[in-house]
């Protein structure tokens, strides 16, 4: 290992990145674009669902209940209906995504502790469905008793208390994870094509006929991307704090430490892909085989706890899974890397295995 040769490979790589506009755009624009898309467009907390309301009781209590529901901001009244049938029609036609039926015997039902209000919902969208379930559970607490007498029975209610994201803003949950998603996408892709590109362009045959070693080539190609990955991390953390007011409960340095662990794991994975792929196109295809499961299984989009055990095992092999636990822990709960040493160890292990495999796979031979 010669530092001079290693530095030469790194410098060469940096110069090439600097002249490659698409790569530059991926480094800078991609994080910003994803941040905006995920931060604004993908919002799992629904607001302003079009609702139809059939208040057949039309009592002061029922009117108070409906006003409370509207006040949550989850629904916007679109249709005042007279019968439940009218609501189901509107629902089928897609005019409303939610209907609230207050039966004529609302007061009596409340008094008896029977179901007093029905919320019908367009269940074809699970997110809307869960919003409706929440909606159905919250308001009865607040509705003042119909008369001075307290309710004989109160319906079983689940109160949802959100600890680390009290306003239940999606951005708080998504932005830290987004660092991981962006790093997975760009880092694997950049290094995935790194070696193949030189093979395709004919540089590799010249390089392997020189004294430069496999390790110098591999490390030298990867190292500049660590810096690039940290720039991307800075972009997402900075914009996340400025635009979406995402907190940094733990240490900023440790957040960078976590990012660094993910970067190295992803770069090693990219290199391994690069030694296997026959063309840049193939390398990109392989990248997708890593990227899709990462997005879907890591817990970024869907909760990890909801997955079957076998899938959870698979997810444990993905660097992003461990990173998400680290970064959410650090940024949202104020945990330290030491608290989360399991995931730190897992990321380190993944990196060592992948990097060794890549260096072993890369032969300074053509056959």
């Amino acid at each position: 290992m010669s530092l001079r040769r290693l530095w030469a490979v790194m410098l060469k790589e940096l110069r090439q990145v600097r002249r490659d506009r698409i790569t530059l755009a991926m480094i800078g624009a991609l994080p910003v674009m994803q941040l905006v898309l995920f931060g604004y467009a993908i919002n799992l907390n629904l607001r302003h669902l079009a609702a139809g309301i059939a208040d057949q009781a039309n009592s002061s209590a029922s009117r108070a209940l409906i006003m409370d529901m509207v006040a949550t901001g989850v629904i916007t009244p679109k249709l005042a209906a007279t019968s439940p049938a009218q609501l189901t029609d509107a629902l089928r036609r897609g005019e409303i995504s939610l209907g609230i039926i207050v039966p004529p015997d609302f007061e009596a039902r409340r008094f008896d502790g029977r179901e007093a209000v029905q919320v019908i919902v367009d269940g074809s969208d699970t997110v809307v469905q869960s919003a409706a379930i929440q909606l159905a559970q919250v308001p009865l607490n607040n509705v003042p008793p119909a008369n001075t007498r307290p309710l004989g029975l109160s319906p079983a209610q689940i109160s949802v208390v959100s600890f680390y994201n009290p306003q239940r803003r999606s951005a708080v949950n998504i932005v830290p994870g987004l660092i991981g998603v962006i790093l997975t996408m760009t880092m694997v892709l950049f290094t995935g094509v790194a070696i193949v590109r030189e093979r395709e362009r004919g540089n590799m045959e010249m390089l392997i006929a020189t004294p430069v070693s496999s390790t110098e080539l591999m490390v030298g190609k990867v190292a500049p991307y660590i810096a690039i990955g940290l720039i991307q991390t800075t972009l997402v953390i900075g914009l996340g704090a400025l635009v979406f007011r995402v907190p940094m409960a733990g240490s900023l340095l440790e957040a960078y430490g976590a990012a660094m662990l993910l970067i190295v794991a992803n770069l090693s994975l990219g290199l391994l892909i690069s030694t296997q792929a026959k063309s840049q196109f193939q390398a990109m295809q392989m990248t997708f085989f890593v990227f899709l499961p990462s997005i879907l299984l890591s817990g970024f989009m869907f909760p990890f706890a909801g997955m079957p055990v076998v899938v959870q095992w698979l997810a444990e092999a993905l660097p992003l899974t461990h990173f998400l636990r680290l970064i959410r822990g650090i940024m949202l709960r104020g945990a330290s890397l030491a608290d989360l040493w399991h995931d730190v160890a897992a990321l380190l292990a993944i990196s060592v295995v992948l990097m060794s495999a890549a260096i072993l796979r890369f032969q300074k031979r053509l056959d």
Binding site: S2, R5, L11, K12, R15, Q16, M206, A209, L366
Partner: protein, 324 residues
Amino acid sequence: MSVAAPLAAGNPEFAIRARGLVKRFGTLTAVDHVDLSVPRANVYGFLGPNGSGKSTTIRMLCGLLTPTSGEIEVLGLQIPREAEALRRRIGYMTQRFSLFEDLTVRENLEFLAAIHDLSRAQTRTRVEELLEQYDFADRTRQLAGTLSGGQKQRLALAGTVIHRPELLFLDEPTSAVDPESRRDFWEKLFDLADQGTTLLVSTHYMDEAERCHRLAILDQGLLVADDTPAALTAALAGRSLLVSAAEPRRAQKVIAQMPGVLSVAQVGNLLRVLCDDGRTAADRLREALRAQGLEARIEAGTPNLEDVFVAATRRTAPAQEKPS
């Protein structure tokens, strides 16, 4: 030509010696029992059509491919076992432009200097020297990808010799270069040979082959000729004939049918005929043409490398017809 005894280690007379070199890719035999001895400070040519095994042989000699069987000794090192040590002492210029198109002329040279372990000070002087010698003084900041074909080859050569290698492998260095650049390029090669560098150059241009000190002709993985160009052409004395006939196209068809004729090519109004035996060929040609009512004047031609190439590759023709 072939050496029966095992290779004696460290022979100072030869830069490259190979014996019984074989490379198979699956069922294809790309290189078939090739014996080579390349003297030092020589420009040694590798002539052969595409797919004749030139590149494969060169790659085995630099240690990039492992031979299926055979022994190789390059600069006294056993290849592929000591390939890593060899890499510091050789330069290898690939068939394709192998420098980085998105780096400038100077950046490419500086990179190559660094990976060849030149110190920073050495790099500075060597790069300046090469920029001057190879006419890049006014293009140091130009991206390599925007250079012309001839300039690219010149830059690749400059990059290949940056660490002053004792031995250079050049795989079809001029295949995409205009004639004038080719001539300049060859001047550079002779300059290097003059300074004591051994060069092994593969080509499919006859005029380039002609200029080599020594020439090996490869055909379908077999070494079919290996000598100086002069000796190779002298061996064909009398076998090359110039025929001038009234209807050259028709005469050509008649001659092409005759046994013992290796090739007929029309050159202006003349036909250039290469026979496998020079003694009675002229008379037999005249007879055959007369039988077809064609009067012809026949004189002896001077055999050239084209003839050598045809004679050497046609000799292996029966081997091609074996079921493969």
